[in-house]
């Protein structure tokens, strides 16, 4: 296509001015190709893939469930329950470890 034509011009260019003009055309060609690639990439990303969306379910942006990085505020009942389960699980593991240590001693 156009690139092939410019390549032959590049190979057979006789003067520096011709060479410069051919290089300029090639650069333009490359820029157009880049735009085409970007457009194709944009098309490939279907809207269905979309961006991550959080549904707040008509809650305000506050409270522990919406915070990241610091632990102030009240936890929701679900979070409290989850935390209690984790603590119980941890306690059980610690008890098992203590039992194992005792048996070794």
């Amino acid at each position: 296509m156009a690139s092939g034509l410019f390549l032959s011009q590049l190979l057979f260019a006789q003067t520096p001015a011709e060479l410069a003009e051919t290089v300029k055309q090639l650069k333009k060609d490359v820029a157009e190709l880049r735009q085409e690639v970007q457009a194709l990439k944009a098309q490939r990303m279907s809207p269905a893939a979309g961006l991550k969306t959080e549904d707040l379910n008509h809650r305000t942006f506050d409270g522990a469930q919406n915070r990241q990085g610091f632990g102030q505020g009240q936890m929701s009942s679900e979070q409290r329950e989850e935390m209690m389960k984790k603590m119980e699980s941890l306690k059980k593991l610690l008890d098992e470890r203590d039992e194992a240590l005792k048996s070794i001693e």
Partner: protein, 228 residues
């Protein structure tokens, strides 16, 4: 950090423009409860979450609520601004409110704090027209942010000695902002904002009808706004 948030209040909401698209009504363009959750990283390593959502919208005014929480300190702050004249060439911040856990009720931001917000600044970023956007458009990229991968228009402009480079996508509606990188000679001018996720069905924290006059505690949360 709070000073930065105040300065960002009106530069974050860059709205993409599409001259070929059928004009939408204000209510269609800014559905209540919709918005974006941004992750803000300063050059010094501190970071924060910033959520901007539409509290309400009508034919001529939009209420925008900002929720800020620092990841480095126990700071939470809500602000709500009522912007009038949406859909016209002349915009103005008609009302402003602030709330923090340290305050009993939301408080009204006095007019003198609102007049420091330049109208041109709002026009440039919030509800910007396609012509204004096109002037600063420098390209189109596929951008990877925590919210996902998206094709976005890239813009670049100078502001108070800093270079702002930002990416806008219709997929990130209604605010449109996907990423913003600010670089400048002052330490506070060096930060990055990326889209963490879109949000929907956000209930506004501030009820303007319950607001009281600004107290001394509330004034402490207000950074001085620049007068021009």
């Amino acid at each position: 950090m709070l000073n930065l948030i105040f300065s960002l209040v009106f530069i974050l909401s860059a709205i993409h423009g599409d001259s070929n698209a059928k004009p939408k009504s204000i209510a269609e363009s800014f559905p209540p409860g919709s918005g974006s959750k941004f992750l803000l990283s300063m050059a010094d390593g501190t970071s924060a979450n910033l959520i901007i959502s539409i509290a309400s919208s009508s034919s001529s005014r939009v209420a925008v609520e900002y929720y800020f929480s620092s990841t480095d300190a126990p700071i939470e702050l809500w602000q709500q601004f009522i912007i009038e004249g949406a859909g016209t060439a002349r915009l103005r911040v008609a009302e402003g409110y602030i709330y923090a856990k340290e305050l009993k009720h939301p408080e009204r931001i006095p007019k003198d704090h609102l007049t420091g917000i330049d109208e041109t600044e709002i026009n440039e970023f919030l509800f910007s027209t396609s012509i204004q956007s096109a002037e600063f458009r420098v390209g189109e990229d596929v951008v990877q942010v925590p919210a996902g991968q998206v094709s976005a228009k890239r813009f670049k402009k100078q502001r108070e000695g800093a270079t702002l480079e930002y990416w806008i996508s219709e997929q990130a509606s209604p605010l449109g902002l996907v990423k913003l990188v600010s670089k400048g000679p002052k330490p506070e001018q060096n930060y990055t904002i990326v889209l963490g996720s879109l949000v929907k069905n956000v209930k506004p924290k501030i009820d303007p009808s319950a607001a009281e006059p600004l107290s001394a505690t509330g004034r402490g949360f207000l950074a001085p706004l620049k007068k021009r």
